[in-house]
């Protein structure tokens, strides 16, 4: 029995027409679709949405607080206290908030902001553009070429590759080196990245694999990216952070440090210990 299987494998030859009419067309079409997708993405992604001036102001105000909390030791105590007082009051009043009236409203209302909707729509559009052509090609291959053997790899492989290389074919005894049409599609999907970066340059949107990863992480990411930030809460927490910052002027013992640097004193605080 086993001898029979071997001999049939040895005797199996592929029709050159399969190579000409199935193998090459799949590859060429996948490359073309990739290029087309890249161009379409360029066409469809217009200008990134411009942030409102009040948005910028909001973000920068928060950054200022962070900076003060971080670098407080570089300015003298009176200067620090003055800034701390001002920023804390401003945060409390919501002075830098985009719309002061909505200060007490919950974050859910911020969803109504048309700009947030626009950003979400843009992401959806991009994802759809990735998924639709790939699904179509896969459907096309499965419909017309299901069960086709397209190519024989020139090197031997273990049995474990069977699932990867012969998906769609239910023959347990066939040599793993034969590649089925559906598997050829997947190999192309993941393998064409190098070709695309050659044709279109490094930053291209033709690659289909990115959409795969995007899809799998969508559940986790979508919530974070889609949800607008509640600046009022952030301001208040920044206020708390600032109010507990212990200010220590970095220049308190600068005399000693300079003496040490210029070799007038062996070690820091030596004189004070004596």
């Amino acid at each position: 029995m086993s001898g029979l299987v071997e001999s049939t494998e040895q005797a199996m030859f592929l029709d050159p027409a399969i190579r000409d009419w199935v193998l090459f067309p799949i590859t060429v079409i996948m490359v073309l679709v990739g290029v087309f997708r890249h161009q379409l993405t360029i066409l469809m992604t217009g200008e990134p949405p411009k942030p409102d001036i009040k948005d910028i102001r909001q973000g920068k105000a928060l950054m200022r607080g962070q900076l003060l909390a971080q670098n407080n030791s570089y300015i003298s105590a009176p200067a620090f206290v003055e800034r701390k007082k001002y920023l804390c009051e401003a945060y409390e009043e919501g002075k830098y908030l985009k719309n002061k009236a909505a200060k007490d409203q919950s974050a859910a209302n911020l969803m109504a902001d048309p700009k947030n909707m626009e950003v979400m729509m843009d992401g959806m559009k991009k994802q759809m553009m990735g998924i639709v052509p790939q699904t179509l090609i896969m459907g096309w291959i499965q419909f017309f070429f299901s069960g086709f053997i397209l190519i024989k790899l020139p090197f031997p492989l273990g049995v474990r590759f069977k699932q990867m290389l012969q998906s769609g074919i239910m023959t347990p005894n066939m040599d793993v080196r034969w590649v089925s049409s559906l598997s050829w599609y997947f190999i192309n999907l993941f393998g064409l990245r190098g070709v695309f970066s050659l044709i279109l340059g490094g930053e291209n949107s033709a690659d289909g694999t990115r959409d795969m990863t995007a899809m799998s992480t969508m559940g986790a990411m979508g919530q974070q990216a889609g949800q607008p930030q509640d600046y009022n809460k952030q301001f208040l927490s920044m206020k708390d952070t600032l109010s507990i910052v212990y200010h220590e002027w970095d220049l308190e013992n600068i005399e000693q440090r300079v003496f040490v640097k210029y070799g007038k004193q062996a070690r820091l605080f030596k004189s004070s210990r004596k």
Partner: protein
């Protein structure tokens, strides 16, 4: 040949064009700037960046009013345009309307609070109006954002010295020489401030009333011995720096140090 290298550069050429315009305006070659601007204008219609360049050309030609209306239009279209608001402030400054420029710059900084160069510019503007405390505030903001740049510390130290806050000035001068080894301006500052603090505390001892005032105002003054050591250190470093320098500057420095 120029044409060929331009086509080779591809999209990078546009950036070079922008630089050419700026350089040409610096050199006063307005015709060159105009011709390059024309190339950019035909390629990028309605570009805010090109518009700002054409505003620059207008300013160079002396049409300040036109430039101003152009910038205001740009800002009306897009209030977040940093380049346009900066040009507007610079325009006011060049026209000598310093108070107006200060007001514009303050509104700009209210939004873009992390632009340390703008804070620096505001401090210069305040200085030109002799508003020292305000300028000091701006410099503190700059230092908060760029704490490792000794030049800003030096600036701040000199400002504090001018304002009479000798204790802060001394500390900041020391910071300068800590950050940048053998900084001559920093050591001059250390010596000046330390000497002045010593004489003032001597004066304070002679009249008790004055001493109270001093201790009220300055609580960060180091001890007398430390001041003396600082002054010595500054002298020593300055001498060694000028020993490496030319003869004339060395003599001048020695003369000053002996006084």
């Amino acid at each position: 040949m120029l044409k060929r290298s331009v086509s080779q550069a591809g999209d990078d050429a546009w950036l070079v064009y922008e630089q050419i315009i700026l350089a040409a305006l610096d050199e006063g070659q307005i015709d060159l700037a105009k011709s390059v601007l024309f190339i950019l204008d035909t390629r990028f219609k309605d570009s805010q960046r090109v518009k700002r360049l054409s505003g620059l050309v207008m300013e160079a030609l002396g049409h300040t009013d036109e430039a101003q209306t152009l910038y205001t239009e740009m800002l009306e279209k897009d209030a977040t345009n940093v380049l346009a608001s900066k040009r507007l402030i610079a325009l006011l400054k060049s026209q000598g309307q310093i108070p107006l420029a200060i007001r514009e710059l303050v509104t700009y900084l209210d939004t873009h609070g992390n632009d340390f160069e703008a804070w620096l510019e505001l401090s210069h503007l305040y200085l030109s109006q002799h508003l020292y405390p305000q300028a000091a505030f701006c410099l503190e903001e700059v230092i908060l954002q760029q704490p490792a740049n000794h030049y800003f510390h030096l600036h701040y130290a000199e400002l504090q010295y001018t304002m009479g806050n000798l204790d802060v000035a001394l500390k900041e001068y020391l910071r300068v020489v800590e950050l940048s080894t053998d900084n001559v301006r920093g050591f001059y500052g250390v010596k000046l401030t330390a000497d002045r603090l010593m004489t003032e505390s001597k004066k304070g001892k002679s009249s008790g009333n004055k001493k109270d005032q001093q201790s009220n105002r300055m609580d960060n003054v180091p001890q007398q011995a430390t001041l003396e050591r600082l002054s010595e250190l500054a002298t020593e470093r300055l001498v060694s720096v000028y020993n490496r320098a030319s003869d004339t500057s060395k003599k001048t420095a020695e003369k000053w140090l002996k006084e």
